[in-house]
C-alpha cells in the first residue's frame, strides 16, 4: 500500500529531545525519511513550503503560531500535504479543531513507535485514519451539533462512525454492513468533509452574530 518509496515527513515539536526521539523511531523503521524539523508554528509553515514533505507530524501546543492555525495554513497552501497530530493530551476541543481545519488524524504521544510508523504510512496512502477514540469524539461532536443548520450525518454514516469507535477495522465494518471496503472509506471521508464544513458554518454564524451585535 505504501510502495517502496519512503514517506517524506516533517516533524514539528518545540522540544528538541522529543523531535530527536521521533526522528529516530521513524527512521529506524526504514519506511520513513524525516526531511525537515520545525520548533514552532511559524517555522512549520515556512519549512513546509521549502522542504515539501508529504506528511507533517505535529504537536498542537506550539510557540509563535498555534498548532491548529499552522495546520490550517499548511493545508491551505499545499492541499496534498497530510497532517497527523501527535499530541500529549487528548484535549478534545483542540483535536476536533485540528481535524476540522484539515488534519487527517491524531495520535497520543504515548503511542508506540510501531503505531506511529503505521499511522504515518496509512495517512500518506490516503486512508483517513480515524482512531477509535477520535471517532468517538467526532460522534459526540455531531450529536452536540444536531439540530443546528450544519449538514448532519446520515444514519449509515453514524453507524460506520460508531463501529470505528468500537474498534472495528474498515474491512470488518465492510463485512458487517455488506459493503465494499472502498465504500466504508468513502463514508469516513464524507464524515471528515462534513466535519470540516461544519467549521465553516460555525465561522459564518460567528461572523453574522458579531455583525448583528455591532449594528
Amino acid at each position: 500500500m505504501s510502495g517502496d518509496e519512503k514517506v517524506r515527513v516533517m516533524v514539528v515539536d518545540d522540544h528538541p529531545v522529543w523531535r530527536d526521539g521521533v526522528r529516530a523511531d521513524l527512521e529506524a523503521s526504514g519506511r520513513v525519511e524525516v526531511v525537515a524539523e520545525a520548533a514552532d508554528g511559524g517555522d512549520a509553515i515556512e519549512r513546509a513550503r521549502e522542504a515539501m514533505p508529504e506528511l507533517v507530524l505535529m504537536d498542537l501546543n506550539l510557540p509563535t503560531v498555534p498548532g491548529v492555525e499552522a495546520i490550517r495554513r499548511i493545508v491551505e497552501e499545499s492541499p496534498h500535504v497530510k497532517v497527523l497530530v501527535l499530541s500529549a493530551s487528548a484535549e478534545e476541543a483542540d483535536v476536533l479543531e485540528a481535524v476540522k481545519v484539515g488534519a487527517s488524524g491524531y495520535l497520543l504521544k504515548s503511542a508506540t513507535a510501531a503505531e506511529l510508523v503505521d499511522a504515518v504510512v496509512r495517512v500518506r496512502a490516503g486512508e483517513p485514519t480515524f482512531s477509535p477514540s477520535l471517532a468517538a469524539l467526532v460522534l459526540g461532536e455531531f450529536r452536540r451539533m444536531s439540530g443546528t443548520t450544519e449538514p448532519g450525518l446520515t444514519a449509515r454514516e453514524t453507524e460506520v462512525l460508531r463501529l470505528v469507535a468500537k474498534g472495528y477495522t474498515y474491512k470488518e465494518i465492510a463485512d458487517q454492513l455488506f459493503l465494499s471496503t472502498k465504500t466504508v472509506q468513502n463514508h469516513v471521508q464524507n464524515i471528515l468533509t462534513k466535519l470540516q464544513l461544519s467549521r465553516r458554518y460555525e465561522l459564518m454564524r460567528y461572523a453574522i452574530r458579531r455583525g448583528l451585535d455591532r449594528s
Partner: protein, 407 residues
C-alpha cells in the same frame, strides 16, 4: 442573558401590576361619574354629559382590552380626554356650582396624571398634573365663575385640585423609577454573585490541581531527572533500572492525563461526579497484556458510584477477554444517548455462541453473571453479541438522570 432577563422581568411584572391598578381606578371613577350624573338631576347639557361618559367608557374599554403600550400618541390622547373632561364638567354642571358640590369629572383625570407618571417618570407625571390643573381653571371659567372676583376659598380649592394631579402623577412616576432601578440592581447583584462564585471555583480548582501535580508528578519528574543524569554519567546500567524509570514516567503520564480529564469537583467522595471517559482511559492505559483503546462521545460525567461500578464491570470483561478470547486488541467505547449511557467492550477474538441458558446449564456463566449483577444494580442491562470467528461485543446500558450528567 438569562440573568438579565430575570431582572427586567421583575420590572415588567411591577409595571403590569401598576397598569392594572390604574385601569381599575379608571373604571371605578367612571362608575362614580355615572352616579354623580344620575343624581345631579339638573345638568345643563345632558346630551353632552351622556356623550362624554360614553366616549370615556369606550376609551377605557379599549385601554382594558388592547392594553396598548404607553406611546406618545396614546399618552397624548389620554391627557387630551382628561383635559376635555374637566372642561365638559364646567359646561354641564349648573352654572357657578363647580367647587361647591361633588365634581362631575370625579377622579378620572387623575388616572391620566398617574399614567403619565408611570410611563414617563416624575417629570412626565408632574407635567401632566400641571396641564390638568390648567384645565381645571378652564372648567371653572366654562362654568361661568369669575375667578378675578372669587373668594380665596375658591382659588385655594383650585390650587388644591392642581396639587392633587401633580402629586399623584409625580408620586407614581417616582415609584415607577424606583421599581426599574431596583430591578437593575437585582440583576447586577445576581451577576456579581455568579461571577464571584465562578472565580472562587476556578481558584479552588487551580489550587487543588497545583497540589496534586506538586505531590506526584513533580516528584516523579525530579526523580527521572536525577536518575537520568546518573545514567548518562555512569557506564553500564542494569536494564531493569531503566525499565523501572520508564514505568514510573508512564505511570505519572497516565495519572496526569486522567487528572486533566477529571471533574474538579470530585475529590473521590462517593457524592461527587467522575468522568467515565477518564476512567476508561485509565483502564486502557494500565492494561499490559494487549492493546486497549478507549473513547467516548464526551467526558460523560456520572455519579462516582456509577463510574466505579462500570469500571469494575469493564475490568472483569477485560480479564475475561485476556483469558479466553485470544484477541489482538480491545476497544472500550462509551456514549450517552437520550439519558442512557451505553458502554461497549469489543474484542477481535475468536468469539463464541452466546446462549445464556446453555452457558448457565454448563456452569460457565459466572463472570458474565457478575458483570450483569453490577450493571443491574445501577438499573441497567447487559447484552452480549458474539459469533464464532467475529469477536465479541459486550454492551452495558445504564440509565442516568438528566441532572446528574454534563453532556
Amino acid at each position: 442573558m438569562r440573568k438579565a432577563a430575570r431582572g427586567s422581568s421583575e420590572a415588567e411584572r411591577g409595571r403590569a401590576v401598576l397598569s392594572l391598578g390604574i385601569l381599575a381606578f379608571r373604571w371605578v371613577s367612571l362608575g362614580w361619574m355615572v352616579i354623580l350624573a344620575l343624581t345631579a338631576g339638573e345638568l345643563r347639557r345632558p346630551a353632552l354629559a351622556v356623550a362624554t361618559i360614553a366616549g370615556l367608557a369606550a376609551w377605557t374599554g379599549w385601554l382594558t382590552v388592547a392594553r396598548p403600550r404607553p406611546t406618545w400618541p396614546v399618552l397624548a390622547c389620554d391627557l387630551a380626554l382628561a383635559v376635555g373632561l374637566n372642561l365638559v364638567a364646567g359646561l354641564v354642571m349648573p352654572a357657578g356650582t363647580v367647587g361647591e358640590r361633588p365634581f362631575f369629572a370625579a377622579g378620572y383625570p387623575v388616572a391620566a396624571a398617574v399614567t403619565w407618571g408611570a410611563a414617563r417618570g416624575v417629570g412626565g407625571g408632574v407635567a401632566a398634573g400641571l396641564v390638568l390643573g390648567a384645565s381645571l381653571v378652564a372648567g371653572q371659567l366654562a362654568n361661568g365663575i369669575d375667578l378675578a372676583s372669587s373668594e380665596p376659598a375658591v382659588l385655594l380649592d383650585l390650587a388644591g385640585g392642581t396639587l392633587n394631579f401633580v402629586l399623584a402623577g409625580g408620586a407614581v412616576g417616582l415609584v415607577a423609577r424606583l421599581l426599574e432601578r431596583s430591578a437593575g440592581q437585582l440583576r447586577q447583584a445576581t451577576e456579581e454573585t455568579i461571577r464571584a462564585r465562578e472565580r472562587a471555583a476556578r481558584l479552588a480548582e487551580r489550587e487543588s490541581l497545583g497540589r496534586q501535580i506538586h505531590d506526584s508528578v513533580l516528584q516523579a519528574l525530579a526523580l527521572v531527572h536525577k536518575r537520568g543524569r546518573e545514567l548518562a554519567a555512569g557506564g553500564p546500567v542494569p536494564p531493569d533500572q531503566v525499565a523501572g524509570l520508564a514505568e514510573m514516567a508512564a505511570g505519572q503520564e497516565r495519572a496526569l492525563r486522567s487528572l486533566i480529564l477529571r471533574d474538579p469537583a470530585d475529590d473521590g467522595t462517593p457524592a461527587g461526579a467522575a468522568s467515565l471517559r477518564a476512567a476508561l482511559e485509565g483502564l486502557a492505559g494500565a492494561e499490559r497484556s494487549l492493546p486497549v483503546t478507549a473513547g467516548a462521545t464526551g467526558a460523560l460525567w456520572l455519579p462516582a458510584r456509577h463510574v466505579e461500578e462500570l469500571v469494575a464491570a469493564v475490568r472483569q470483561a477485560l480479564d475475561n477477554v485476556v483469558e479466553h478470547a485470544g484477541a489482538t486488541r480491545v476497544a472500550l467505547f462509551a456514549e450517552e444517548d437520550a439519558g442512557v449511557v451505553v458502554l461497549t467492550v469489543r474484542d477481535d477474538g475468536r468469539g463464541f455462541r452466546y446462549d445464556e441458558r446453555q452457558l448457565l446449564a454448563q456452569g460457565k456463566i459466572g463472570l458474565a453473571k457478575s458483570i450483569k449483577g453490577r450493571v443491574e444494580q445501577l438499573g441497567g442491562t447487559m447484552a452480549v453479541t458474539s459469533r464464532p470467528g467475529a469477536g465479541t461485543e459486550v454492551e452495558l446500558r445504564v440509565p442516568i438522570r438528566e441532572d446528574e450528567r454534563d453532556r
